[in-house]
Amino acid sequence: MAYSDKLLDHYENPRNVGSFGKEDDGVGTGMVGAPACGDVMKLQIKVGPDGVIEDAKFKTYGCGSAIASSSLVTEWVKGKTLDQALEIKNTAIAEELALPPVKIHCSILAEDAIKAAVEDYRKKQGTQVAPAADAA
């Protein structure tokens, strides 16, 4: 199967591999997995006080397409607000990397990882804000 140059580049030189402290303020962690191929993906975002994603890291166990998809989205989410990050669609990921049809689920995984990370971040912020709101 012929893979695109972009896909191979992200696979061979993945960007932003690693982890942030899970409990750190401003960090949202998304964990997702694809049963079809057993891929597991962890995507973390670090959000600044202005609500913009400053940094992102990922760790993925899976095929080349899953690694490339997660590497790509760590680049894409940087500099975006949470709502903008949520607008990233799997079709855009698949198109950018020219994923073959059998690998579309890898881009779904990456989209869902962003959603899960944003949700985790918002949940953490919510639980931190709630006591103050009660006190007011």
């Binding site: 964990m31 997702v32 997995g33 049963p35 079809a36 597991v40 166990y61 779904i108 869902d112």
Partner: protein, 186 residues
């Protein structure tokens, strides 16, 4: 002269009900010896050699039967594919391609196992691979017991679909461990 129709239910060739073909009740727990026995009976009835001197149409039919029998046998023999098939018969899609929301603790566990596999592979450590295989076997048998409850006793199909998804991860990891083992041995 042997005739397929004596053993093979004539109209069933294109039916997708493998349980019926093998004379088994639609349950997760099956009588494995009955499955084996019926498999050999069907195979020998449908074997193309038996129909070598028969008209072409009958030969073609016996080939199709042989394929269907093999397919059904393989599917029913493995607990994972059997469970998935039972859910399919009930109209439940396990969402293998698009259901990515696995429980977080399960995914953490998968990550840890994947890391252990990487470490064992890099260190060329067959004992570490064996230990991981044993852990995985325990996880698989735990999931199978859960399926007995969810499918045969409680008829809780959404819970069973979630268990099947977990088993798919475990099966995939098991294949990767086996491949790593093979590589070490060569």
């Amino acid at each position: 002269m042997s005739d397929t129709s004596q053993v093979l239910p004539e109209a069933d060739l294109f039916s997708r009900d493998h349980f019926a073909l093998f004379g088994l009740p639609r349950r997760f727990v099956i009588d494995e010896r009955a499955l084996e026995g019926r498999y050999h009976e069907l195979q020998s009835a449908a074997h193309p050699d038996r129909h070598a001197h028969r008209p072409e149409q009958e030969r073609r039919l016996s080939m199709q039967w042989a394929t269907r029998i093999n397919e059904g046998y393989r599917l029913l023999r493995s607990p994972l594919t059997r469970a998935r098939y039972l859910l399919e018969l009930e109209g439940v899609d396990v969402g293998a391609e698009n259901n990515t929301a696995m429980p977080a603790d399960f995914l953490m566990q998968q990550m840890a196992w994947r890391e252990a596999l990487d470490d064992a592979r890099n260190a060329g450590d067959p004992e570490a691979l064996d230990a991981l295989s044993a852990t995985l076997r325990a996880a698989r048998s735990g999931a199978e017991s859960q399926l007995v409850r969810e499918l045969d006793e409680e008829h809780n199909l959404s819970a069973a679909a979630a268990t099947v998804r977990r088993m798919m991860f475990i099966a995939r990891l098991g294949e990767d461990i086996a491949a790593a083992h093979e590589k070490l041995e060569n």
